[in-house]
């Protein structure tokens, strides 16, 4: 696989000297892609070798991949679209299950993020929790909002979730003729923001967590709220900001937290977990 294109099967195990407790497996998948040939300037079909990694440790199996854009037909070479990894990864996981002869269980990501981590870290001194993005659907309304500053886009800034919560809180105060001190106004705004995130049908949620300016995690959690939909909501997974902190470090944090944080709700898998 290193010296040639390889075939679409699992290679491994590979053990890295710096982490002898983990075993890695790699599977190349070949994706048809159209691009303009540099010389002829005509569309030419090539294959992208997309690599999916499986990391096996004691009781936990994680799958890793990178997204990319591509052209799936001759006419779209100038307008590449996002590769629909959600059509592939669940099948790859099923295939791995057959290979190891075990049924894997996804962690309950929405419980983990919106309740376990949320309840513990939002109120923890020294920690800074920043809401970055929410995609939600409830009562026929679809919400897709980024936090102010998250995208560096003026339009998105204006539509930020903090701005939305701020506007709603001001509207409530005005309509009810209330006169609130600044901390009370902030409390109301925070409560509205938390309602939007936790009680308005979040399908995915992105946040960052720092401890005294030390980076802990910055990731977009897809909760798998729409199984069988051809979208990122089809299965639970995490999109880590790897330029902020490595995905393996962030994964380590997630696994440690799942294992050690207090459980407020009894609904955990009894079989090996999977990411």
């Amino acid at each position: 696989m290193v010296y040639s294109e390889g075939t679409s099967e699992w290679y491994g195990p590979i053990v890295l000297p710096e982490d002898e407790k983990s075993k890695w497996y790699i599977k190349p998948i070949f994706i048809e892609h159209w691009e303009l040939d540099d010389i002829t300037k005509k569309p030419i079909q090539r294959a992208i070798r997309w690599l999916v990694y499986a990391k096996v440790t004691d009781g936990v199996l994680s799958f890793h991949w990178q997204g990319f854009t591509y052209s799936d037909d001759e006419d779209s070479t100038k307008q590449e679209s996002q590769f629909p990894y959600w059509n592939y990864i669940p099948k790859i996981i099923e295939e791995f299950e057959h290979l190891i002869g075990r049924k894997l269980v996804f962690p309950n990501l929405h419980q983990f993020v919106l309740h376990q981590l949320w309840d513990y870290y939002r109120a923890q001194n020294g920690y800074t929790w920043t809401d970055l993005r929410i995609r939600a659907e409830s009562g026929g309304v679809s919400l897709n909002a980024r936090s102010a500053g998250a995208g560096g886009d003026v339009e998105i800034d204006v539509k930020g979730i903090n701005h939305l919560a701020h506007t709603l809180s001001l509207s409530v105060v005005k309509e009810l003729g209330l006169s609130l001190e600044k901390p009370e106004q902030q409390h109301l705004q925070d409560h509205i923001l938390q309602t939007i995130i936790r009680q308005f049908g979040a399908k995915s949620y992105e946040f960052s967590l720092e401890c005294d300016s030390v980076k802990v995690i910055k990731a977009h959690f897809y909760f798998g709220m729409k199984p069988n939909y051809p979208s990122p909501d089809a299965f639970p997974h995490v999109n880590c900001h790897t330029s902020w902190k490595s995905d393996t470090n962030q994964l380590e944090f997630i696994i440690n937290q799942i294992k050690t944080l207090p459980q407020n709700v009894e609904s955990q898998p009894s079989q090996p977990g999977l990411f």
Binding site: S138, F223, Y229, V265
Partner: protein, 122 residues
């Protein structure tokens, strides 16, 4: 105030029932993922709760139909008991296209609590 005992749904903890009460106090239009997100229960547990409420006539059930081209908005909402429409009579009001293929359709459920005040307990 109508009290609803959820003892038969033994996967709901007291904490989750409390979170469920917080949810229905402000949002009575419940999709499975709305309940799951608010209480931390699994999606299939949320669906079991909603079917339970529908069976007890505490909620009205609806099938939401989505066009695969814009999955964030449903284009049709029908009472559950009326079932699905035939594909040849479907027209997407969001993108104003006729639906040609049933593979272009996706479905979800919504249950609307039909009682003014409900309190869940275990």
């Amino acid at each position: 105030m109508l009290k609803v005992n959820l003892a038969s749904l033994d996967f709901f903890s007291k904490k989750q029932v409390s979170l469920l009460n917080d949810l229905v106090a402000i949002n009575k239009q419940l999709m499975p993922h709305v309940v799951a997100g608010a209480t931390g229960c699994r999606l299939e547990e949320a669906m079991a709760l909603l079917i339970f409420l529908y069976d007890k006539d505490l909620a009205d059930g609806y099938i939401l139909t989505y066009h695969s081209k814009h999955q964030d908005f449903y284009f049709m909402k029908r009472p559950l008991k009326e079932g699905l429409l035939k594909i040849d009579s479907l027209f997407c009001q969001v993108c104003e296209e006729k639906i040609e293929n049933e593979n272009d359709l996706l479905y979800d459920f919504e249950f609307v609590i039909n009682k003014e005040e409900v309190k869940f307990e275990v």
